[in-house]
Symmetry: C2
Subunit: 333 residues, 2 copies
């Protein structure tokens, strides 16, 4: 079933059908309109959007590049992206990079080939890959989410990860903790680097020292939180652990439980993200909220403005961390 068939069956020209289907039918006789619509409905005809894209140069598809949907936080982002996109008549192609810069670069290429109208990019390795350069040169619409770049022309919706890291550790310090462990994210991950920087800043500002042993490299997955805390609890003085994201905090809970350590009595846990489940687990996780849903909604809207070349808009929006005090941190005296 093509537009041609419909035209033939309704005994009108292709143009007429197209006009009607696209709502440009002010000048079409009602009778003709009804006849065409009837044929369309009878045959359940839907225009082929690929052919349409061919000519309009718009695919109405957005690429969403994230590390891993399985991570609660990114699941929420994916959800927000999809809802917002749907509202504005776009679809989302989902891409998981697993924090691998090569995979990320591949996906950027793929999405361009597929003529995605734009990209929401939660980048793993922003600094040094040539795709980004090319994108900038060609002015391909991309909004970088969750991470800032230093090029004035980039569209960015970001979160102050350094401040978030600092906020988490300061909160621990205010609660009397002096020996604080840290489970980081993947080594090259920008948000992980920033959050860790926040940790360092807060520790130094408070005149607290820390050894290499109390900083464990994780990978933002549950399991690494579990493994990480098992290493840390060997260090007798540690009273609190800062996990760089919620998923690892969940793992830390498990590790503590396995070793019969009570949270927060024996060990306090704090992290960053505030995924849905963080208010659900017991004890409820004290965490620094990164407003992923709002950020992503903002990003999608920004991207679409860019694509549709709407009125001026801010190309840089920053979200601030918010402390969500729950039950996983205890005051030490």
């Amino acid at each position: 079933m093509t537009i041609k068939d419909i035209a033939r069956l309704a005994k009108v020209s292709i143009t007429t059908v197209s006009l009607i289907l696209n709502g440009k039918d002010q000048n079409i006789r009602e009778e003709t309109r009804q006849r065409v619509l009837k044929v369309v409905n009878e045959h359940n005809y839907r225009p082929n959007s690929v052919a349409r894209s061919m000519i309009t140069k718009k695919s109405k598809i957005l690429g969403l590049i994230i590390p891993d949907v399985t991570n609660q936080y990114f699941a929420e982002i994916a959800r927000a992206a999809e809802s917002t996109a749907k509202e504005l008549d776009y679809s989302i192609i989902l891409c998981n990079t697993d924090e691998d810069p090569d995979t990320e670069a591949q996906y950027v290429q793929l999405l361009r080939e597929k003529q995605a109208d734009g990209l929401i990019l939660v980048s793993t390795a922003l600094s040094d890959y040539k795709e980004l350069e090319q994108i900038r040169r060609e002015k391909y619409p991309v909004v970088i989410l969750d991470r800032r770049t230093y090029d004035e022309n980039d569209s960015v919706v970001c979160f102050d990860n350094i401040a978030a890291g600092r906020m988490a550790v300061e909160y621990l310090i205010q609660n009397g903790h002096k020996h604080i462990g840290c489970i980081t994210g993947p080594q090259n991950n920008p948000s992980s680097i920033d959050r860790y920087t926040g940790f360092c800043q807060a520790m130094e500002a408070a005149g607290l020292s820390y050894t290499k042993e109390q900083v464990i490299e994780g990978d933002y997955q549950v399991k690494s939180g579990e493994d990480g805390i098992e290493k840390i609890i060997g260090i007798s003085k540690i009273t609190a652990v800062f996990c760089l994201n919620d998923m690892m905090a969940y793992g830390a809970y498990k590790g503590c439980h396995k070793h019969n350590l009570k949270i927060p009595e024996d060990i306090s846990i704090i992290s960053i993200d505030d995924a849905i489940l963080s208010s659900v687990i017991i004890p409820a996780l004290t965490t620094i909220k990164q407003p992923g849903v709002e950020m992503c909604t903002t990003a999608v809207k920004m991207l679409i403005k860019e694509i549709e070349d709407k009125e001026d808009y801010d190309k840089f929006i920053n979200f601030n961390p918010i402390l969500i005090e729950r039950e996983s941190v205890m005051k030490r005296t």
Copy 2:
């Protein structure tokens, strides 16, 4: 940059470029090949897949229709779908229905318009909407995941939800529980109906009675588990609750905690799914594993076989429930 430009710059015909780019270059002089490739790389040219789809009639896009990525279980499914698809050179368009049949129908239409080569459908309302009929008539490739239909011709990867429900409740009964509450899923959701049927079967087989009050309607979301259990714990005799999915069990944990009820000492919890976090929460959740990742991987492979018209294959694959015994159910004497 189009194939035309490349041809012009390399001083060859369009055909030559196309042949080389598609690996059909056995008959092309190496020198020519190199020259073309050089131009291609220099300009970072990538063929436009929309135009390619136009002619090949293949979009290399698969639609994934699920209730909600934010649900751990579906996040894992989305992940599995995306990985498997990528491996086989397909992309995934993500669609969340929120358990709404109309949204589902809309998405089916949309994906067809977008010329998705096939669909993975975790259906909310399989029985009664005309899209499915049309799909069947037109032999559009669809694999129904997580839910069985009764049409022999449908491709189905399913899970025995009735057996799963029965298994959960039987386990509770074996552990000495006689007064068992239940938090169901959305009313019209097929998997919810089946799981609940399993509950009823097991209760009846054991000669156990239950009142309307001890069966609460939930919606598969965390919050409804929390609300649900708060209603149930009012009924003094209840010693165990069967939540129809893990997300609601997480909510139940929270509800119990709020009311100072210990799991499993005061109340036992069991559910179905076995999402990642179920082994992480404390106490670890005893649940019936629905092997979502394997199911989805299987479904995608089946779908692609169907699309690419490969050799014969099973159109019906059933996965069985597996009891995962952890710590949320206590033996009563």
